[in-house]
Assembly symmetry: C2
Homo-oligomer: 333 residues x 2
């Protein structure tokens, strides 16, 4: 409370190609005064997500981030002072605080969070990552027992939970991830049935071997070549849950879309469906109840990758886009 | 009945590039004897469909057509003699007779058709074309009153019916077709609200002008560039009914898929869903009842393009792939 300086990270330039540290700047500002309807927040944990990079391209499901403003990002924060009914000092909230130590945010853009330990779970298994995995797999992918589920970016925050929920559902689960170590971890620690290391080349052949009965549900975090490789392996009436397109976010977007669209979509009667987790928030309580039960019984192992220091946020996002992390990456501010 | 010669058209070679008359040969064979469980058929009208060309690429929802066999194709035919229970001389059936005057076909692969006039309606509005339009638009596209529906190959057998059903549903209907004449016909005769002539270039701009409130349902018969142009214009929660990919059937398949897949699918929460009309056959009676009511009340105008003579079948298919036809093209044998 006695702090008078607010450290912030600005996006000083929107990247034309790959994102680098030169696109950011650490700066200092005065503590923001909460206006009517706002709360002054102390940011505790900043969520790092591939979507942060996508926001730099232009308006998506949210407005684009602009150069020379505090970089946008979701975070868990503590209310320091409130000018809004329903929020009081000491409350814990989730919201888009941006990459800074303090923020004044309208209460209507904040979601009150329960106090539980570890607090990081509010960003991983009980946060956007866990809910995205839960709703995307179950409501969009609609897996049935015995079906084959493939998930890309399988070692990431969402993918690692998707695969574990699919195992709870009794599916044959294949994870696509980069590198032998991640693949080994997915199989030995998280219970995936098979993995495909996309850095090893020959993704299509490896996928075909890992999914010998074809693919019923493909949970797509990456788009591009891996989506293209999955299409010919989809079974009739298969479902592709389109969660993200990480392969397209950092650098120049791909010159082409996946071959097989829409030819294979027609012939195999596939459903490709995009979703944003916010659309499911009315069902949030049900999801949290199930996720909590699975976590406390050990059916889901929560993997987090917590990095200290606001000043490390740019580097942490750049690393995430390069696939450094296992599970949910976040910054402890 | 007294004929002893069966004129047939063989596919003598699978085309590597564009389909031409050189890939077919007219030949003569003896009348086929119906085996146990088969009926001997006199073919009356052969259906011409862009899908005929797709079958030459390999197995789709049916096995691939092979070189040096009678070219596959659906037809309305009359039973001459039957070795199968449930079928008798004089019955009218629909089935894959192939491009020939007579065929012996297992009864289980035939659908008995009502006797109505004109008989050609069994291939157009009450046949695969009408049912494809009906189920694809209503079950996959799920249009609501006031929404914007775009249909490609709009002057074709399926597209021309899709647009008219969408008008009955109270939608703003945009047809994409090739050439000023077809576009004028769609607006003045079939009641489309707007059209886009893809031969005129600048499809994206023209689509944007024709669909000023964005696209809620895109009924896709063509894939490729027109699908790509529609994606950025789709409204959130829009539906893309994937019916065919005509643009990919004749000649070398496109080197790339549509850009925007899956990025725009995610951000706009779109559903892309492929379908084959056969999947809806349990609901056929309901569809026919509605289609008959709309046709007899004049809400749907049936457009057919009937060409005489088995020998003209190759030319008629080649012309269809080039976009010559308006409405349902067929051969009177």
């Amino acid at each position: 409370m006695s702090a008078s300086v607010n450290r912030q990270i600005l996006l000083i330039e929107k990247p034309a190609g790959k994102l680098g540290p030169e696109h950011f700047k650490l700066t200092e500002a005065a503590l923001p005064e909460p206006k009517e309807g706002e709360a002054l927040l102390r940011v505790r944990y900043i969520s790092l997500d591939a979507a942060n990079r996508a926001w730099m391209h232009g308006a998506t499901y949210r407005s684009a981030v602009e150069a020379n403003t505090v970089m946008a990002g979701g975070a868990i924060a503590e209310v320091m002072a409130s000018n809004a009914p329903g929020l009081a000092a000491g409350d814990l909230v989730f919201g888009d605080t941006g990459w800074q130590e303090y923020a004044s945010v309208p209460a209507k853009h904040l979601t009150k969070m329960p106090k539980l330990e570890p607090m990081t779970y509010l960003l991983s298994i009980y946060g956007i990552a866990g809910l995205t995995a839960y709703f995307g797999l179950l409501e969009i992918g609609k897996p049935k027992q015995g079906e084959t589920v493939v998930v890309s970016a399988a070692a990431g925050s969402v993918g690692s939970i998707v695969g574990q929920i699919a195992k709870i559902w009794g599916c044959h689960v294949v994870g696509v991830a980069g590198g032998k170590d991640k693949c080994h971890w997915l199989r030995s620690e998280l219970g995936f049935d098979a993995t495909v290391d996309y850095k090893d080349g020959a993704v299509f052949k490896a996928l075909r071997a890992a999914a010998p009965r074809g693919i019923d549900v493909y949970f797509d975090n990456v788009g591009g070549d891996i989506l293209e490789a999955c299409l010919p392996l989809m079974n009739n009436y298969g479902r592709i849950a389109c969660c993200g397109a990480i392969s397209q976010y950092d650098g120049v977007p791909s010159a082409h879309g996946p071959r097989g669209v829409p030819g294979l979509i027609v012939v195999k009667r596939l459903v490709m469906q995009g979703f944003i987790v916010m659309d499911f928030m009315a069902q949030r309580d049900r999801a949290l109840t199930e996720l909590q039960a699975w976590t406390s019984s050990g059916k889901i192992k929560v993997q987090e990758d917590v990095i200290d220091g606001l000043e490390n946020t740019p580097k942490a996002l750049i690393g995430l886009l390069a696939g450094e992390n296992r599970g949910k990456r976040m910054i402890r501010v």
